[in-house]
């Protein structure tokens, strides 16, 4: 150790001390300031008595008592701080953060208003909701997701190149939704309506990861973001439902029918805005409260594993084949997606350095049983397509199935290696985050390539 300027060393000690204090949720930054000021007074006094600064610091800290005890006393007075507050009551002392969150709020309001207005713009040109089924079914995501992407891109101060790419991709989506002559009853309309939002959501992901496109950690953050966004959206939808019920009821009591207002304004505009607001909420509360999606996966991974195992056992005992039609195939696709979701969100919440546990084994059981079930389904499906020929729906369902199957199969292999201590956990994470590109390619393929291939059926 070299002898340094006593004053500098003291400042370093104060910085370190602040770091410790900062980790206490009970102590806000204004408390830390106040306590630091107190500590400095103590040190000054001790130095005046003839102590060296570092000695004075030690004694002053010791006199203040353990941080544990100090935070306990503070917690007794400020118990609300342990219930972490959401954005609306940010730490008042932290002015930089406050300005930032205000700017975020304003930007979000602009984007949400933009989304809410956008959905009504086609109405000006005579495209009413009830007249045109195909237009709104295929285009609805184009009214809101660009606004969410814009908000995220603004927040991350994305470069001009990325912005250009985003605009181009959304334009491509708009083209895909509108250039093909799709019939109202055609299967392709449904396909575009369900696949385009997911394709565009991955474009939102591009805005989310911004310039760190190749960073596996950033992509994983986007997966976390998606899960939390979904949870928030569901909560907002529930709240919206309650609002609608009261709106209908109260106006009915005075003899006014609010039905048209709700279906023409509240529902469409509210839904579009909610998608942006949910994104803002996730961004704003990031790190403020625990993520809920991983908690749900913890709860449901064992339950799903049990159900899938029971299903396999039932097939084995009864010897019954699975009755394959479009609905069941879709259901099994969704099942795979849910299993994948369970896997993804437990991965997203897992400490990469934590040792293997029973939960990892449970996950392996879940994934393997889903794989076995899906292999059975695929086998029968292939037979049917060979027999009757394909339709856009079958092709899309089959493609999804294969995309998910490949992902889960390799995940199962990586999980097995991990559980048997042959491989590391980061390999699983990297596999999942790289695979996002495959989803994007498949979704765009369904939107852009499938309809013409099947003659716009």
């Amino acid at each position: 150790m070299t002898v340094t300027n006593g004053k500098e060393e003291l400042e370093a000690q104060f910085t370190q001390w602040r770091e410790y204090v900062r980790r206490r949720p009970e102590l806000q930054s204004s408390d830390a300031d106040e306590l630091e000021d107190h500590l400095r007074d103590s040190v000054d006094e001790l130095v005046a008595l003839g102590l060296k600064p570092d000695e004075a610091f030690l004694i002053a800290v010791k006199r203040m008592g353990g941080l544990d005890e100090l935070s306990r006393e503070f917690a007794r007075e400020h118990s609300e701080r342990l219930w972490k507050q959401l954005v609306f009551t940010g730490d008042p002392a932290d002015s930089v953060k406050k300005i930032r969150s205000r700017q975020d709020l304003i930007a979000m309001l602009i984007c949400a208003a933009g989304a809410a207005v956008s959905i009504k713009v086609p109405g000006l040109f005579g495209l009413r909701f009830e007249d045109s089924d195909t237009f709104y079914a295929t285009n609805f995501s184009l009214f809101t997701l660009p606004w969410l992407a814009a908000f995220l891109a603004w927040r991350r101060q994305a470069g001009a190149r990325l912005c250009a790419v985003l605009v181009a991709l959304f334009a491509l989506g708009a083209a895909g939704a509108n250039i093909y002559p799709l019939d109202e009853d055609s299967q392709s309309v449904n396909l575009v309506g369900t696949h385009l939002p997911i394709a565009l959501w991955l474009v939102v992901g591009l805005a989310y990861v911004s310039d760190e496109l190749r960073s596996s950690r950033r992509r994983m953050d986007f997966i976390r973001f998606s899960g939390e966004w979904f949870v928030y959206l569901v909560l907002i939808a529930l709240g919206g439902g309650v609002l609608t019920v009261f709106l209908t009821g109260t106006f009915k009591a005075i003899g006014l029918d609010s039905g048209e207002f709700i279906s023409e304004w509240l529902l469409p505009c509210g839904a579009m805005a909610a998608i942006v607001v949910a994104g803002w909420l996730v961004e704003a509360k990031q790190g403020v409260i625990e993520n809920i999606a991983p908690v749900l996966t913890r709860l449901f991974t064992p339950l799903f594993a049990v159900v899938l195992l029971a299903f396999l056992v039932a097939i084995g005992v009864n010897g019954r084949g699975i009755d394959i039609n479009r609905e069941t195939l879709m259901m099994f696709d969704l099942l795979l997606a849910v299993v994948l979701g369970l896997l993804l969100y437990s991965i997203s919440a897992r400490d990469p350095l934590a040792p293997r546990g029973t939960f990892d084994v449970l996950q392996l059981v879940l994934v393997v049983s889903a794989l076995v079930i899906d292999a059975l389904v695929l086998l029968m499906m292939a037979g049917r397509i060979a027999e009757y020929g394909g339709t856009p729906n079958k092709m899309a369902a089959l493609g999804e199935n294969i995309v998910l199957l490949v992902n889960l199969a390799w995940s199962a292999w990586l999980l097995l290696r991990f559980v048997r201590r042959r491989g590391g956990f980061p390999a699983i994470e990297r596999w999942q985050t790289s695979y996002l590109a495959v989803y994007a390619v498949w979704m765009w393929a369904v939107v852009l390539i499938l309809p013409p291939v099947f003659g716009y059926q």
Partner: protein
């Protein structure tokens, strides 16, 4: 001699309000003042004083602001409010009653000994 916890807790509010009634002050100075007033007998910890100040602030008895007095660091100063003065007056009244009563049953404070019965006493 150590003042018991209960007594410290009961006297904390009037002491702090009393000190702040003399003029606005900050945490460290308040602790020093209490120590001086009691000849070092009342030794409050930071973990006691600051949450107390925050509670008084929440109740509206004191208000605080970050100020920079020339030549010194930026500090969080506390000052007593009108409501706090009323509270202090009320507490003062209650304490007078207690002290008055104590004085009457302890005629010679500092001269207390266990009561002894002369008949049994052989000292």
């Amino acid at each position: 001699m150590r003042v018991t916890k209960d007594l410290v807790a009961a006297s904390a509010t009037p002491i702090v309000l009393g000190i702040l009634a003399e003029g606005e002050s900050y945490g460290y100075a308040i602790l020093r003042r209490i120590s001086d007033l009691s000849g070092g007998q009342l030794d409050w910890t930071e973990g006691f004083l600051y949450p107390l100040l925050h509670r008084l602030e929440r109740l509206g008895h004191v208000e605080s602001s970050w100020q920079t007095v020339t030549g010194e660091r930026r500090r969080k100063y506390y000052r007593v409010t009108t409501q706090g003065m009323a509270e202090l007056a009320e507490q003062h009244h209650q304490w007078e009653t207690v002290v008055e009563a104590l004085k009457q049953i302890w005629p010679n404070i500092g001269d207390l000994r266990p009561l002894t019965f002369p008949l049994e006493g052989n000292a």
